[in-house]
Symmetry: C2
């Protein structure tokens, strides 16, 4: 036994509510624009690739210590203003009874996709606290480290449509024939599936906040494949349901999609304190359309990071210029960072966003 | 020798300028809305699949009699208001020196993609009349048949960006890292490539009209991957150049893309008498933004045709309702018809558009 043996009362967690990231979520002025990157823990980092040589992606996600290690890797490398839990949007599908695997080169594959009402009826009602306990434990572990650094932590989940897209197609899909056909052709099945996904997503988000996440991001990555009319009729009520449940936690919610130029106002109306904008919509146009009630996040093309630094810098500066002097924007890419992205460009990008917006 | 031996003077081709399709291109009232479908000659038709068992796609394209046969197949099956030449946008790349092959399952593959200025300098200046003579001969052959039916014929080409995307990536691509990197990182190479593609596309379109095409469609299928800023700086001048050359023929030009919710006004300004709109943008919104100077074409989701007829009908009617009583719209899908599309739904769709809009 050493002189450290006497247990001290656990220190109260630091109050990060005045951090750049959380202030920007509330549309309050900041000393420099906050920046984080979707998939900031990922294959572009050699530290991540090294760990992936020893562990599968699901192994890392389900082992809180490994999830913490990966979550922290980009914080060690770059001056980021938020951490995001290392996980995958498809984990809740697994605990609902879907056979989930990550197949090298093919991405996620679901062996028993939903095609009928009977398939939906057969889904399990998960006990999230138990079945996804590793997520909440990872959040608690990560918080110890991020609290020390004064960095807020983001939890996340897939939105009902994007989850349904995988659950019905059985994996990725080019045209989403199966999920749209089910949506248009089997309204009862669609309603049953989407209701259940909304409930699971909402509570999963809520419980991540209760476990310690300072903010929550809803990923509706593939919603841009829908017309506004279909979004309004078949998707928006369920996304709204999920976000309404998650709102119970009282933390900011980021609502993200790609290809959403025609959907931004509807996504805002479905819910969220921050609306994700991809590079296809100019940021100033998006902010004008969305109005003063929400913050924004985005919107550099992830492919831009493959260009020479001068081009990255000019493209970034045009985004920063379009919101200069305005509160309520979080710098990010318009979609997840790509595996081959040069690390040095990421480092310079984060530094440039801070330097160019410091007041 | 028979009584037909005495050659009669060739009959003057019928004047189709008052056809529904060409009147709609000019925003003039019509007796019923014209309809045709992108890729209307294709794998969803058993007649086409039967021919493809005997011939490769390039074999058909390069044999004018076969190209005619395939072009006419959908006209025999459905009451369509326009024919479109059976060909592929990548043929001009082949005669510029790219090694083009269609690999089963993988789509088009280019064996010697462009990555440097030296690669561009090495490209051939094609003699279009000679190298793509089969296209012009096919148009002349098809015209004999379509003239008899009173159906106008559309010629087409790929827009410079969409061609560059294949030429640089070497085939299809998910994120278009290579083509965008070249665009941002090698301005001189980009300019040299795009100038040459614009020139070839423009003249290829012009010569198709001179050979007998009544209208021309410019396919910029992948342009929706670009931000408006990048479109304006790196793409628009070259598309405008191609369309300006093609305009010399004096026939209507349809300017098409997908995912273009943020690009519609810029595409209109680049040129075209008709602007293609995909399902992501509501048609009434698109027409209001585009103004009275251009007609529109679209915009049913191709996946909608996999739904039960009642859903197809309702979705189609909502599109028709949004332009009811207005001139200058051509009904089409928002992108090419998909291989597994039920033929009976196509037949009912074409019939419904006519019946529901007949004045």
């Amino acid at each position: 036994m050493s002189e450290h043996a006497t247990p001290s009362a656990p220190a109260a967690p630091p109050d990060l509510s005045e951090s750049r990231f959380l202030r920007a979520c509330r549309r309050q002025p900041v000393d420099a624009m906050p920046v984080w990157l979707m998939r900031q823990a990922g294959r572009y980092m050699s530290e991540y690739r090294a760990l992936r040589e020893r562990y599968g992606i699901l192994d890392i996600i389900k082992a809180p210590e490994l999830a913490r290690e990966v979550t922290l890797q980009p914080l060690d490398a770059f001056d980021l203003d938020a951490a995001i839990l290392f996980s995958d949007i498809l984990l809740p599908l697994e605990v609902m009874g879907y056979d989930l695997a990550f197949v090298k080169g093919d991405g996620p594959v679901i062996g028993n996709p939903t095609r009928t009402l009977a398939d939906v009826v057969r889904l399990k009602q998960p006990d999230l606290a138990r079945d996804l306990g590793f997520t909440f434990e990872a959040i608690r572990l990560i918080r110890e480290a991020t609290d020390r650094r004064g960095i807020p932590l983001i939890g996340f989940a897939g939105a009902p449509f994007t989850l349904a897209s995988y659950a019905v197609e059985g994996g990725g899909s080019k045209n989403r024939v199966l999920v749209k056909s089910l949506m248009w052709g089997q309204p009862e099945t669609w309603h049953a599936l989407m209701s259940q996904l909304a409930d699971v997503t909402g509570h999963y988000l809520l419980m991540q906040a209760q476990a310690g996440a300072h903010a929550l991001q809803v990923f509706d990555s593939w919603v841009g494949e829908l017309s506004p009319d279909d979004y309004r009729r078949f998707v928006m009520p369920y996304t709204a349901q999920a976000i309404a449940i998650a709102r119970g936690a009282g933390v900011p919610i980021i609502h993200f999609g790609t290809g959403t130029s025609s959907l931004l106002e509807l996504m805002r109306d479905a819910g969220g304190d921050v609306i994700g904008v991809d590079w296809r919509t100019p940021l100033d146009v998006a902010r004008q359309r969305l109005g003063d009630g929400v913050a924004t996040q985005g919107n550099l093309d992830p492919v831009a990071l493959f260009a020479p630094w001068e081009s990255v810098r000019d493209q970034t500066r045009r985004i920063l210029d379009s919101v200069r002097g305005q509160a309520g924007h979080i710098f990010n890419l318009g979609h997840g960072i790509l595996p081959q992205t040069p690390v040095e460009t990421v480092r310079r990008l984060v530094e440039f966003v801070h330097d160019d917006t410091r007041v």
